[in-house]
Subunit: 344 residues, 2 copies
Amino acid sequence: MSETRSEISQLGEFGLIDRIQEKFALVNPTSLQGIGDDAAVIDAGDDCVLISTDMLVEGIHFDLAYVPIQHLGYKAVAVNVSDIAAMNGIAEQITVSIAISNRFSIEAIDALYAGIKAACENYKVDLVGGDTTSSAGGLIISIAVIGRANKDQIAYRSGAQVNDIICATGDLGAAFLGLQVLAREKEVYLTNPDMQPSIEKYEYLVGRQLKPEARTDIIFDLREAGIKPSSMIDISDGLASELFHIAKNSGVGVRIYDDKIPIDHIAYETAIEFKLDPITCALNGGEDYELLFTIAQADQEKIKNHPDIHFIGYVHDNKSQNVLITKEGNVVPLKAQGWDHFKS
Amino acid sequence: MSETRSEISQLGEFGLIDRIQEKFALVNPTSLQGIGDDAAVIDAGDDCVLISTDMLVEGIHFDLAYVPIQHLGYKAVAVNVSDIAAMNGIAEQITVSIAISNRFSIEAIDALYAGIKAACENYKVDLVGGDTTSSAGGLIISIAVIGRANKDQIAYRSGAQVNDIICATGDLGAAFLGLQVLAREKEVYLTNPDMQPSIEKYEYLVGRQLKPEARTDIIFDLREAGIKPSSMIDISDGLASELFHIAKNSGVGVRIYDDKIPIDHIAYETAIEFKLDPITCALNGGEDYELLFTIAQADQEKIKNHPDIHFIGYVHDNKSQNVLITKEGNVVPLKAQGWDHFKS
């Protein structure tokens, strides 16, 4: 071991990924895309195989004090399927590896896999493998998802063109606010265990946090409309962070409008209640698992009436300018805060 | 959560896997093989894509007190590549997910990835993705490997035919004995930190434990000889356990000869030194990552001079008889002890 000791927190998660990526070059001709997009792309004739993986660690990504274990199983699959959707592909298989301590009973594991199964059925994905092992500490779930797309259909982060329209699906910030509600209820419960949690009003937000859905429906809608997005990513770390990924990888700049960012009215009201800015929640909240993508202007007409696709801005050629335009016309530089598990 | 609480240790690892498997059916036509072999098989035209995954947990699978972290990285890749070899396929890509606590420095992570890179270069495998996250506890490494094989080349556990010859590569039991040596040295060190470890004599055994190799060379040798094994598995849990998998999945019985089991002379001597039976070490030791396979009798001639392929027995039709024949001619029922991380 070296004498020098440098802390991982100095690098952060993206810094660590960059550090790993730069040491590894691709040598196999079948490796079409490696690290740096929502999924890797592997040549398989006319089709490509897409692969992505996510690891969920108890105490870091979830707290079983307020996450029902069945929902956790569902979410673990959904977020992986979302990564395949973000390549404009269809997920077909998953592998699930778990490490569990003897704190967990067979009934708890059954509930976890019931959630996994519900997601598999909903997204038409087969569980084809995995690993089960014990853990000295908490629960760890590592899922790999395999998807498929025609070579010409794949949407990379790097394809955004100047003048393309930036689209976001669904609504943003609700999952983050759901987490705030759950954390507050946990505090209340710890202070006074006789208090009943009052989350009815926040049901939508809590549902967005506990049981997000991958937007595979949007992939089918876009295909039906004859649209191939020029670039795409899923919104896991917050809208701002994902916009930066697309801008950087495509060598362009992005301009979005705050009054176009889709925010549900309950999310809006709850942000105010928590003394948070609703726009900031949407920009940096994370875990929405909506899709962010760009389309050619000529394609806008084809989906202008889609109830769940919102045109939030456009791509321009100044790559040093990623900005938010406020209702008042102010131009505010975007900041990609996102989540970083190595910083707190 | 249910009122009943049943302990996972009642099921064991294989019981848990069976319990999971029976709840999941395959629905996608591209899912050719799910849980139950060394890798899942996914249709990709003439070729198939193979996928397998392994999770290594600190304190369960490795002890950084005596495993250099660089070797750990190498081994984590090698054992996954071995799973693809066990399907008679060639590994081409991996994803690596890690969870790390702030106990680990950047230098430690660099060493881990240096080992991963050395294995990638040795096996000509591309690192195409993964996940990095923090962990409250120790180090967790989850690797998924993607391989390829022609549909007609894939060797399943279920293909062994009556009268086939059973083959094992390399030598067995050495990795287990290497672990015993390391554990003893750790005890000595804890008792007296000034003592220098004396592992020179055991270098081969310790190397087999710390830095096993996947037998991809055998796959190429078999192809060159024009042999497709009728069944194949890698020896990760011990020869006996793997023989049971092949016998059960193929609906046959196996008969092996104790004097045909390949054991290195240092492994033999060290077993005696530790008051262990060398044959038992080979049968139940595990972590050898050699290949166990069956071939048609007509193929035996083609590899009879291969220095690293040993004919250890044959397949017969009585599926209730999996036996070891001793030098003295005694017939001893095989016991599949293997490793079970949920029992101790």
